[in-house]
Symmetry: C4
Subunit: 207 residues, 4 copies
């Protein structure tokens, strides 16, 4: 046994900082890829039709930004309960960040061919992998008492599972619809993040 003097703290703060950096870049980087509208003429109609051309790009940007915001929120909440890390926890974190970094890429694909089944597939799989890899990291962390910062109430554990798994479930439905009515898939992409705005059982634990 290692005596406590030699035992490392391994506080989670550095991993959180890496994550905050990655999220802030992934969120910002999507804007570089927005092409500026080409307005042909000087009237309102010209301006509006130029806006219309970049409309689906913007829609995808907005959805992805809000989704990344929600994932950042989930990631941030995880560290309210988990305050220390170990090697495997950090490796799982790196995998999570890897799929997060792919979101601007998937967004570009979806913006490029919004109603194609394969664009919807790539986007839905990417977002689902974000949720699932964070969920795995969470499950690993809460299993190890030495990593915990505070006691995890059973209610929070259950609610977290729902919040982690609801998106992949809905995105699976979006994939299924993509072959027939891709507009429904896009609708699901729009509605899913809004669900996280509804009151949930974790609100009671907020200050």
């Amino acid at each position: 046994m290692i005596d406590s003097k030699h035992r490392l703290q391994m506080k989670s703060i550095r991993l959180e900082a890496l994550g905050d950096g990655i999220f802030s870049i992934a969120m910002t980087i999507m804007v570089i890829e927005l092409a500026i509208p080409v307005v042909k003429g000087n009237g309102w109609a010209d301006f509006l039709s130029a806006l219309k051309l970049i409309g689906s790009d913007f829609l995808c940007y907005f959805i992805s930004f809000v989704v990344l915001g929600i994932m950042w929120y989930g990631h941030r909440m995880m560290f309210e309960y988990i305050g220390h890390t170990d090697r495997y926890f950090i490796f799982l974190g790196v995998l999570f960040y890897m799929v997060i970094c792919l979101v601007p890429f998937s967004t570009r694909i979806l913006a490029h061919e919004t109603l194609k089944w394969y664009s919807i597939l790539v986007y839905a799989v990417n977002l689902s992998l974000c949720n699932l890899s964070l969920y795995i990291q969470w499950l690993y962390g809460i299993k190890k008492p030495a990593l915990m910062e505070r006691e995890l109430p059973g209610e929070v554990k259950k609610e977290a599972r729902i919040l982690f798994l609801i998106s992949p479930g809905l995105y699976a439905v979006a994939i299924a619809f993509s072959f027939f009515i891709p507009e429904v898939s896009i609708g699901i992409f729009i509605i899913t993040p809004l669900l996280y705005l509804l009151p949930n059982k974790l609100d009671r634990y907020m200050p």
Copy 2:
């Protein structure tokens, strides 16, 4: 009621870190978009005429950088009073960061066609939305005593309202002028950030 042992801290420090990351990227990213000047020849005149060609790009870069600096300052000041967060406060923060991330995009549009009414419109609307969304986040935060870090003097509250709303007001004037004398609009874009350098009532609270 949740007992205090289970109540989460939800310190604002992580949201501040995300915001600092987003601001620093938005500020830096604008430079990637600056085209390097093409100097045709080896004389001073060649150099100066090359500089002239990139002059409006640079002007837009400078204005946007200083405006983002001022918004970062407002965002930073908010957290002197608000020290904790909840779910909705964070969501409002994500919306604020979303419009902040669009500033390099609007700047590119303005730099591309500086004196067009629609460029001025997009830029003015974007900057106004930054101020207004931060103001909404601020109003939400100061309404909830559990989020406050320290008491908010009435004088600060009033002065903050003025500082939040002065830019959108001036930018509305800039939009109005853009249809007739767009040079005045650009002048307003230049002068507005300088107003934030004037002494104000918050200076008394500084160290």
Copy 3:
């Protein structure tokens, strides 16, 4: 002698923050360079052949992301033992960050011509320089008691040396193979990061 009142703290926290920023950008930036797949047609076969075309790009992205994750981990572990900095320690840190920043560049080269000896050479040399420059920074830091945060057990010192030097050793083998069977070199690039997932002697010091 300077009295203790004037002696600077020089906590390592700022250098860690700079490093976290650089790592998060280097990790994220690689995605910008991923070209989106061009799907010619609407069938599964079209989609799969488009994926295949970007397959080696993705492989290189994955390898580099995980390698950067491991280097971030090593960098993070260093600061569990070293809590203060001086001028030369920071300069060595800047050199380390400089070669880290080149990883997206080398990755692009490897992704562009994956099986060419010179791509493998550039990539292997870049990754080796990352490990070696961090090792030099580490050796400098642990030699100066004033920089240490806690006592460094002899076992950790030895294990760290192995972990620092194992990659450059394997990458040298990858370079040697690149002239004859470059597929083996790529295999080494894939396997090397996985070795860091095996249990090691540092695990005993984890919480």
Copy 4:
């Protein structure tokens, strides 16, 4: 007078975080602009001549990275003495960050036409403005006792002035030489950062 309960802390930590973010992006962003070498053939000679073609790009990248590293160091040292901020201090900081963000731009110009007088002029002026704006921020900060974290010894003040002003002085010489022997100017760009590696009077204050 405002009573101490209402007086804001205005700790410098947020400004430092913004700065660390901006430095890490400015340092990393230069790599995106490095074009990958085009190797025509499969021999050593082909590889070396490809390397040669990107040689001046790399030289500029290395110089700028180290210069930014040194400026980060100066910026970091400033906050060992200054621990609080006010509005004007932050505005001066934004100006400093603005010229820092332009370094990747100037580097691109220098890399594009390394031996032209106007490239050298732009680069030298940019780096000088970095030093001078940081120096102005420093002078403003140390003049206000309320911002200071610890006492500033006279010796440190003098040495800081030398370290702040030595680069602009040398860069002025580089500009002068650029019209006759631009190779000397490049030599000055290479040597100047190395001067900061020499022992100086601040070393005595290090841990």
